[in-house]
Amino acid sequence: MFDSLKKKLQNIRTKFASNIEEAAGVGVEPPQPPGKAEAAAPLARPESPAVLEEREKPTLINRVKVFVREREILIQEKDIEEPLSELEMVLLENDVALPVTDEIISRMRAELVGRHRRIGDSVDDLVVSTLRSALCGVLGEGFDLLRYVEEHERPVKILFTGVNGTGKTTTVAKVGHYLQKNGFSVVIGAGDTFRAGAIEQIVTHADRLGIRVVRHQPGADPSAVLFDAVQYAKAHNIDVVLADTAGRFHNRANLMNQLEKIRRVMKPDLVVYVDEAVAGNDAVIRADEFNRTVGTDAVVLTKADMDPRGGAAISIAHTVGKPILFLGTGQGYDDIMPFEPRAVVDELLGR
């Protein structure tokens, strides 16, 4: 996952570094296009009269002053304009939604402009730490499902939501398998009573995995099915109830109301929103809508194996402000991976 983003980000890093390095050369000269000054060595030339003022505005005078007095340079906006717009393109190309991209960029700009930098210090460190804090800020913390189940009263009820075709049913099967492997007992509620073949699909998965499914007829009220699943778990001392639901579009009021009813009836401990890693800008809109109607406690991103750019992860995490629980990475039951934001960001920035 994140391969393409990773490669590009590393290019950008060097770009930032070299631009800021160039800017160091411009320090004492009258302003000139940053491209021309790359050769100038950062020498201290104590000739410009320093005006005593303590603002960090990167005006020429201040820059000179800081440069002279503290042997530091002040980063100004035009030094980083080009790499920033390049970073913007990289994020967009990697499916980070437009509003989220805008925010990351402005965060980077705010962080970098006006910062002092010691001449001896590595530019790289400065850029990396800024990028890291911008990305970490967006991705948030991870979510440890096993610990959650461990620490909460059984049965833990997990409701899966999302639009059509994102892979809810497959994810339910995978999560069931994951929990089982880790020693928890699981029951699945076949709450997708709408889509033709959905019940058959989840039953086949569950049979292969040896998980019990609570099901009704196609067309039955999903709330009733899932309520029964919870009752079943209580009666049989089962640890976790996984509730599958029909895919629905966030702009269909009656379907969203139905989901709201499901939530009221089964009272899930966790509402997990499932979306695909290949989704573009719409990911933000629908994640937001689901979050507002039924709430979202965690996110699962599926189809991360499709040469994923990872942008959707950043967009969705940023929009709902909730942790990403798993990545779905293939067609097998084991193809699911707990998401660790720190590891991902480290990976992205090559640490």
């Binding site: 073949g197 702009n251 800008n281 719409d282 629908r286 750019r309």
Partner: protein, 443 residues
């Protein structure tokens, strides 16, 4: 968000009107807003950059034709370039043919296969469907259930692991009896080598006349790459965009069209089997940009931008008739979801009941047909429609009387919503009057 994009685009266009010389800054601004609109509609970043370059270049270099204003000139260029990007709508011939469906997991191939079967069936062709999805549990049940509902035969062998064998058998069973054969396949993506190999082989045995790629409207920048690999493998000659009933703009489909040098054939826009539409480039462009019908704008470019389509003022004055609703539905057809349009209108924070938005495009179509069967006086004053008129209208439109009543109910919901708004307005007015009465700074 998107509505504001549409608006800023409109503002940028407005700035161009009345100018006699092309203003570089205004063009720059227009292009920038266009870029943002397209990027947030998931159009490929490189395509967007190319497009904006050539628009900028043409806008600044080409002389406007005599008699054409600057705004009309620039709009025409934008429109032409967008249409070029869009490709021509894919051809659909109504003759015997075999169609192979391909696409990513969860893009909606199976549902679309059934919808296509319905489309050809309604055109009077004998149609059969083959389920070659051997992987996903329940895939055959799904297709079979959908096909049974429309009495289309569905060939499949749940449990058989070899998709090629199924296709071979299915074709030999169907070829003589059926004119149109649709082959549904398992979802796959470009990096799954063995699955790509499988679809290459299916393509070789089946010799399909068409190989259509199904693309989820929400697919992002990944669309180009996926389309490219599918195209390399089997030679895609048409794209179907699904899930256009959500809020996704379908820009990914454009990337796919550009990669495969084909065109968009159909648009899937709902969960029922009838919700499949032929592709309409103008409607698609409007939706991408989140603004009204660009073509109409180009044609009527000298008029004011936003006075057309829906007469908000008349509506607010309380004259909301079926005619207004008809106009509204017509505009809707071109502009995408109602919610979006309503949010473009200057209604302030007015809340409109969600039921009012919950209307599918097929329903809209039906409403328009029903309204076509009404007399002018009925359109002007819907309250005169009694049960015998309902009967007559239903017969004229070829629908059930319930449909006519449903339409009237919808009309009433809308009317009530607008009334509420008016209430707010006059409320403020009353407040002012009251203030005066209570001896404010009267004289």
């Amino acid at each position: 968000m998107l509505e504001t994009l549409g608006n800023s685009l409109k503002d940028a266009v407005k700035k161009l009107s009345g100018k006699t010389v092309i203003d570089r800054a205004a063009v720059d601004e227009l292009v920038r807003d266009l870029q943002r609109a397209l990027l947030s509609a998931d159009v490929n970043v490189k395509l967007v950059m190319q497009l904006s370059q050539s628009i900028k270049k043409r806008a600044l270099e080409e002389e406007p034709p005599k008699g054409m204003g600057v705004r009309a000139h620039v709009l025409r260029i934008v429109y032409q370039e967008l249409v070029r990007l869009m490709g021509r709508p894919g051809e659909v011939s109504l003759e015997p043919q075999t169609i192979l469906m391909a696409g990513l997991q969860g893009s909606g191939k199976t549902t679309t296969a059934a919808k296509l079967a319905r489309y050809f069936q309604r055109k009077g062709l004998r149609t059969g469907v083959i389920c070659a999805d051997t992987f996903r549990p329940g895939a055959y049940d799904q297709l079979k259930t959908l096909c049974d509902r429309i009495s289309v035969p569905c060939f499949g062998k749940p449990g058989e692991p070899d998709a090629l064998a199924i296709v071979r058998e299915g074709l030999s069973a169907f070829r003589r009896q059926y004119e149109v054969i649709i082959i549904d396949t398992q979802g796959r993506h470009a990096l799954e080598e063995n699955l790509i190999e499988e679809i290459i082989q299916i393509n070789e045995i089946a010799h399909p006349d068409h190989r259509w790629l199904v693309i989820d409207a929400a697919l992002g920048q990944q669309a180009s790459e996926q389309a490219r690999r599918f195209h390399e493998a089997i030679g895609i000659d048409g794209v179907i965009v699904t899930k256009m009933d959500g809020t996704a703009k379908g820009g990914g489909a454009l990337s796919a069209v550009a990669e495969t040098r084909s065109g968009i054939v159909f648009i899937g826009s709902g969960e029922t089997i009838e919700d499949l539409e032929r592709f309409d480039p103008d409607g698609f462009i409007s939706r991408l940009l989140g603004m009204g019908d660009l073509k109409a704008l180009v044609e009527r470019a000298e008029e004011a931008v936003s006075t057309d389509e829906i007469d908000v003022n008349a509506m607010l004055k309380g004259k909301f008739t079926l005619r207004d609703m008809y106009k509204q539905l017509e505009a809707l057809n071109r502009m995408g979801p109602l919610k979006q349009i309503m949010s473009m209108l200057p209604l302030g924070g007015m809340q409109i009941p969600d039921d009012a938005y919950d209307i599918t495009s097929t329903k809209m179509q039906r409403y328009r047909v029903i309204m076509d069967s009404m007399t002018p006086s009925e359109l002007d004053d819907p309250s005169i429609i009694g049960s015998s008129r309902v009967q007559r209208i239903a017969r004229g439109a070829g629908v059930a009387p319930e449909d006519v009543r449903e339409l009237i109910k919808y009309y009433k919901i809308m009317q009530r919503a607008l009334k509420g708004m008016r209430g707010m307005d006059s409320g403020r007015f009353n407040m002012q009057r009251m203030m005066k009465k209570f001896g404010g700074p009267g004289k």
